[in-house]
């Protein structure tokens, strides 16, 4: 200890040109963390927040008490969804690079989270996602073409041209509207869950924030409310190590795992291998059961790695080693599930390649269809006169008058 105060500035373990170093990441062998009953008291299960729930071991076998014993057929479907998420992202990224959409965000390396959690939740449960949860929309039935039309802001855009690409919503699929401001959805999820409890329903809510956004006031206020009222909600923290250029140390992740953020409020936390679909599914199901039976909120830290750039506007080679993802000890979620299925004789490299080709064709077909509803340069175009709709339930006089003026001056 020094004899005077000194401002401490967190530094990531590696910068561009350095050898990637994940020695800071506390790892435990797969299958080594106990699975407690859902009725456990928080104080008795604090170990869940500092351990790491893993089901898939280094030999791709499912081991330990958290193994959800999912049928291989179901896992093939899960693999398909994850791969679809990745293929879709890759295509949309290219499309952005070609200048055909203004912006995009990919979920590279984090696909297991949306898909596994989508599988573990019920359709009546409400999801309050972050911007890297596109897999949730897909899994819950939003069509690829509709997601593409949103990114294009074209005539079929669900947001009518009002939102940046990837800020989807679907009331039908019970996936909330993505804001663009970070962490704001956390209190919404808690309030939604409180309303569910007030109404005596057994639907639960789930929300997702990144490691970076846990620093937001909304996060802390939301978890306080969740704890106070035993809201039936799953509070997910996707720790992908990077918030644009700042590593998770700038959100205070260096000394205690994010999963422990709720312990002071009595919210149990589970630290889980976010790249292990089986472990994510099992922990989410545990938290969902607990919430549904009146046990209140659970915080889940999903340890993963942001495999790509933050967005198409970002260049991670400026602040982290280019090969950092390759060195990430928890690997690639798709590759891991694939190897697990192969090792059980339920999948093969050939089938995987076939599937990937099939999904590429599906995405391409969706893209072709999406463009028929308009692109940034080719019509049909959205009518700008619609910009005055939905500001209020009924359009007030001053907006009607602005609409008339816009049409007069700008043409329509």
């Amino acid at each position: 200890m020094a004899n005077k105060s000194r401002l401490y500035i967190p530094r990531p373990s590696a910068r561009p040109g350095d050898k990637p170093d994940f020695s800071y990441l506390d790892l435990v062998p797969a299958g080594s963390v106990d699975k407690p009953p859902i009725a456990s008291r928080t104080r008795d299960i604090e170990y869940l927040s500092s351990g790491l729930v893993r089901v898939l071991d280094d030999d791709h076998q499912a081991v330990g008490p958290w193994d959800p014993n999912i049928d291989p057929g179901e896992l093939q479907i899960a693999l398909r969804w994850m791969l679809l998420n990745r293929v879709f992202d890759k295509r949309m990224w290219q499309i952005q690079r070609q200048g055909r959409i203004s912006f995009y965000m990919e979920a590279l390396g984090e696909e297991a989270i949306s898909i596994a959690q989508g599988m573990a939740l019920r359709q009546g449960d409400m999801c309050f996602p972050s911007y890297r949860n596109q897999g949730l929309y897909m899994y819950r039935g939003v069509k690829l073409v509709d997601m593409m039309c949103q990114c294009l802001s074209n005539t079929r855009d669900m947001c009518k041209g009002r939102q940046l690409p990837v800020m989807y919503h679907s009331a039908k699929a019970n996936v909330f509207s993505i804001s663009g401001n970070l962490g704001t959805q956390y209190p919404h999820a808690v309030g939604w869950a409180m309303a569910s409890a007030i109404k005596g329903e057994d639907h639960i809510a789930a929300s997702w924030v990144g490691d970076g956004a846990t620093a937001e006031a909304d996060f802390h206020q939301a978890i306080t409310f969740a704890a106070v009222y035993h809201a039936p909600v799953i509070l997910n923290i996707v720790n992908n190590q990077w918030a644009i250029s700042t590593f998770q140390g700038f959100a205070g992740g260096e000394r205690r795992p994010f999963a422990s953020r709720g312990l002071g409020l009595g919210i149990p936390g589970i630290r889980v291998d976010g790249n292990d679909l089986l472990a994510v599914y099992a922990t989410t199901l545990w938290a969902a059961d607990r919430a549904r039976r009146g046990g209140g909120p659970t915080m889940i830290e999903l340890v993963t790695y942001r495999g790509g750039a933050h967005s198409t506007s970002d260049d991670p080679s400026k602040y982290r080693p280019k090969d950092e993802w390759d060195a990430f000890p928890l690997g690639d979620p798709i590759e891991r599930l694939k190897q697990h299925l192969i090792s059980g004789g339920h999948w093969s490299e050939e089938k995987h390649e076939e599937l990937e080709e099939e999904l590429k064709a599906e995405v391409l077909a969706a893209w072709k269809e999406a463009q028929q509803y308009g692109t940034m340069t080719e019509g049909p175009f959205l009518d700008p006169a619609t910009m005055y709709d939905d500001v209020y339930a009924e359009t007030p006089q001053h907006l009607e008058s602005q609409r008339r003026r816009m049409i007069r001056v700008e043409g329509s």
Partner: protein, 338 residues
């Protein structure tokens, strides 16, 4: 007809709506067991239970944020922010989320939250219990802003606000909770009992949003105001002896522009008065609107009477508050212009 002060009429509005619509829930600091620091929710938890009148943690962002989520899940939340001065931790939730949810999701999601919050000075509240931040919110599209000036309107406007599918920020000028205030702090307090607007029906009725009220008709001057200053304007106009038309706009957003324009085109003179600070205040918007549509009928520049552009000082409350003296001076000035 029953006599109510503004606290009672607000409580009555909440009671009527909670009885009528089981999806109406209240939440806020001290609103439950205790009944609110200003007593607006007194007795409602006993009547409707802890699940509908909910004591909240001291986290305004959390109160508003969770209310939004409740609204998305089919409830009609009426959160209370104990003082308007405390609303800022919830500002982002109001501006970026509540106000824009319908817009950004093309109407698929909305949250019909009505935020009640006491505002204004004149109660020895100092700079953190006296502010009138309505202009800050009026600048935001997607929310409605309301400020009543009497018990009758308070109840009817609050019921309309709760029934509205749009989010509403409902400002309650706390200086007039217990009685109209003419802006002269030396005079003994007056109760609502002798005021016609203190007569409030027990049951359900509404006062429409976005409709101004002509409080008194006149020919020489229009005073456009709202909240506490409605009463100050009336007293000052009487003291000067000017035949003033006084308009209580009641709804700040959306605004009933026609009522203002019609009046000023008739009188040719216009004073805009509010308790909030002048610079960038809502009076600036009012002045611009009136000027645009009444320019050729104006006989004098539009006048503004407002709080000074300083924080609300504790010891100099009555020098800060735009009370009767300032209003009289403003009216006299205006009437001297040839």
């Amino acid at each position: 007809m029953p006599q109510m002060n503004m606290i009672e009429s607000i409580r009555s509005a909440l009671d009527v709506m909670m009885d009528k619509d089981p999806s109406v829930v209240l939440m806020g600091e001290d609103v439950g067991y205790f009944g609110g620091v200003f007593r607006c929710t007194d007795g409602l938890q006993r009547k409707y239970g802890e699940h509908r009148v909910i004591d909240a943690p001291i986290a305004e962002g959390g109160i508003i944020g969770t209310a939004i989520g409740m609204g998305v899940n089919g409830l009609r939340p009426v959160p209370e922010i104990q003082f308007a001065d405390y609303i800022y931790p919830g500002f982002d939730q109001i501006v970026s989320e509540l106000a824009r949810l319908r817009y950004r999701s093309s109407g698929e999601f909305f949250s019909p939250v009505t935020i009640r919050t006491p505002c204004g000075g004149g109660i020895r509240g100092g700079q953190t219990h006296s502010q009138s931040p309505e202009a800050i919110f009026a600048h935001v599209s997607g929310i409605k802003i309301v400020m009543p000036s009497n018990p009758y309107d308070a109840k009817g406007l609050l019921i309309s606000s709760i029934e509205s599918d749009d989010p509403v920020v409902f400002f309650e000028p706390k200086r007039i909770y217990n009685g109209p205030f003419d802006g002269d702090p030396e005079k003994p307090a007056v109760s609502w009992a002798s005021h016609p607007k203190g007569e409030v029906p027990d049951g359900y009725y509404t006062v429409p949003l976005a409709e101004a009220e002509i409080v008194q008709t006149g020919e020489e001057l229009t005073i456009i105001t709202y909240g506490t200053l409605v009463h100050v304007a009336q007293a000052a106009a009487e003291a000067v002896g000017v035949d003033a038309e006084i308009i209580d706009i009641r709804s700040i957003s959306p605004l009933d522009v026609d009522a203002l324009v019609t009046s000023v085109n008739k009188t040719g003179r216009c004073i805009i008065a509010h308790e909030a600070t002048r610079f960038g205040g809502f009076g600036a918007e009012l002045a611009a609107r009136v000027q645009k549509d009444c320019f050729y009928n104006l006989e004098a520049p539009i006048g503004r009477i407002a709080g000074w552009d300083t924080p609300y000082p504790h010891a100099f409350e009555w020098q800060y508050f735009p009370g009767k003296k300032r209003m009289i001076a403003g009216i006299k000035n205006m009437m001297e212009i040839e």
